[in-house]
């Protein structure tokens, strides 16, 4: 999924203008000339220049706005990417109420099946990975992974 350089440049230009304008409202350090605005402004200006260079080279190259190669030619690719992103969002939302083991088992099972792993190995891998992660991170490394609905069975 390759964008023409001119498209990338335009997006970056818009972004750098936003950052630059936003930086205007940052206050200075009391009694000093240089404060919170300096650094973001420098970054915005430099990014703006790079964006203009990209736009120029993109226009010179010509060609389509978007180039599809490899995976991007088949619709399944987008679906799988969207699913993966959705699963991580699911973790962010569900991990605390549901607990680490159930949430992670669901995510693993879904991705494993999506990549066409057989049902039986998929279930086994998902469960074992989730339980081992909970045990090793939770107990050995003191990472407070949530227990959620399994609170009564914590180990």
């Amino acid at each position: 999924m390759r964008f023409n350089d001119a498209v990338l440049g335009a997006v970056l230009l818009a972004f750098s203008i936003t950052v630059g304008l936003w930086a205007r409202i940052f206050p200075a350090i009391p009694g000093q000339e240089y404060g919170a605005a300096v650094f973001p402004t420098v970054v915005a200006v430099a990014l703006g220049i790079c964006a203009l260079l990209l736009i120029m080279s993109g226009l010179r190259q010509g060609g389509g706005v978007l180039l599809f190669e490899g995976w991007a030619r088949e619709p399944g690719g987008y679906l799988r990417i969207a699913c993966t992103i959705a699963l991580v969002i699911f973790y962010i939302l569900a991990a605390k109420p549901l607990g680490f083991i159930p949430t992670m088992t669901i995510i693993l099972l879904f991705t494993l099946r999506m990549l066409k792993t057989g049902w039986l190995p998929a279930i086994a891998i998902a469960l074992v990975t989730a339980v081992v992660l909970q045990w090793s991170f939770g107990n050995l490394l003191q990472v407070p992974l949530p227990w959620g609905i399994l609170s009564a069975w914590r180990f």
């Binding site: 999924m1 940052f26 010179r60 190259q61 995976w71 987008y78 962010i92 990549l115 991170f137």
Partner: protein, 510 residues
Amino acid sequence: MSAIEAAFGLILHWNVLVTIIAAAIFGLFVGAIPGLTATMAIALLVPVTFFMDPVPAVGAMVTCSAMAIFAGDIPGTLLRIPGTPASAAYADEAFRMTQKGEAERALGANLLFSAIGGLFGTIVLMFSAPWLAEIALKFSSFEYFWMALLGLTCAAFIGASAPVKGLVSLLIGLFVATIGLNNPAGVPRFSFGNTNLMGGIDFISAMIGLFAVSEVLRTVAGGARPAPMVQASIGNLFKGWGRLFKTYWRQQLRGNILGTAIGVLPGAGADIAAWVAYAISRRFSKTPEKFGKGHLEGIVESTSANNSALAGAWVPALVFGIPGDSITAVVIGVLYVKGLNPGPTLFLNDPQMIYAVFLVFILANLIMIPFGWGAIKLAKQILRVPSKVLMPVILAFCIVGAFATNNTVFNVSVMLVFGVLGFIMEENDVPIAPCILGIVLGPMLEQNFVTSMIKADGSFLGFFERPIAASLGVVTLLIWGSSFLSYLIARKRGAHGSDSRAISHDATNP
């Protein structure tokens, strides 16, 4: 002489050796998991060391940190998930070697040059610590500003195949670094009033996203078809070492010296050392065109540099109690508890103790070789796992690793955002490595620029008034000037023909 004998007596106890070995295994384990840092490994050891004698306590920490930093190279090479920002400089290069079936060769070299780098740094520490610490104490914000700028300049060299896109990546990283409250003025920026964003973007979660999650997305998009990654087993890892050492002794020595020099400066550390070393290696290589395609040369120089920087960080820590990095900060606390108060007097009052600490350093770097060897052989099995199974499991580790960096799901969100960003960037040939450097160096650059301006009452001349600052400044400006000049010359010469991309490629690789 008797002090050295006494030191050997302190070390050669079964309980000291057992502690060191246990710490080594723990360090390898923690370091190899992305998201878990060497600092975290050390912090977990702190309560354990309360109940130990001084020598095993310090031994455990030294060994654990050396192992964890080396182990960070393992996932970097095998899966392109650098364990630490110090390995991010060459993670891509090492992963390309894995794709060519040379994972063992890359990791073997990593192990060898990491160990040698550590030993080199230790020797420097033993013989010139007090003297080097004096120089390190001459560094003020003016000098650090130039150091940071020099580091960023090197990143521009690394992304040299398309300089504009490399620069874009770097600037995105610098922008990300401005988010939050951690800036000299102490005001929240780009945080939308959100408490988590006020805390800033954690670079480890960002790194997991940019490198690992983007890779997962790419593999998933293609349906995780089995890629041919047959690994050539070189069996005995130690076999090719003599030849490696002969071929790359220049790179190794240069990396060692540079790494120790940068490591000695408090706050600069292994990250900058690795990037600068990689850039220098490319600049002075006879075959710069091989860089970025799975070439060992840059890896050797970089890995030599980051491990010697680790030992270098102990110089100001032991001599003046000024922590060189977060690892030494923890250890300084433990030294105090154990009655080994850092300071020049430590070298005079307790010579057998300080020699014992040095011996532990040497021991740690020596046992790194057999233990690292075992870890490599074990970790290599990961590559046999088909990617339709491996990718989901990597995703699980990424989520847990990102969560563990600050124990909050907010960092999982950060990881996801950067995963998508990294995916889009790589699809469009924007390199991701400079972005990480931007996030790491951004705060250092800004902090030192603003504080320097306050000190100099707003005068730019302050950056050239002190001798070390002036020389660093001139070097940086010369590098910029010469790059720009050669770009202009190449542009003029090539104006009649070929497209602009090829020209800019030549310009930075003269």
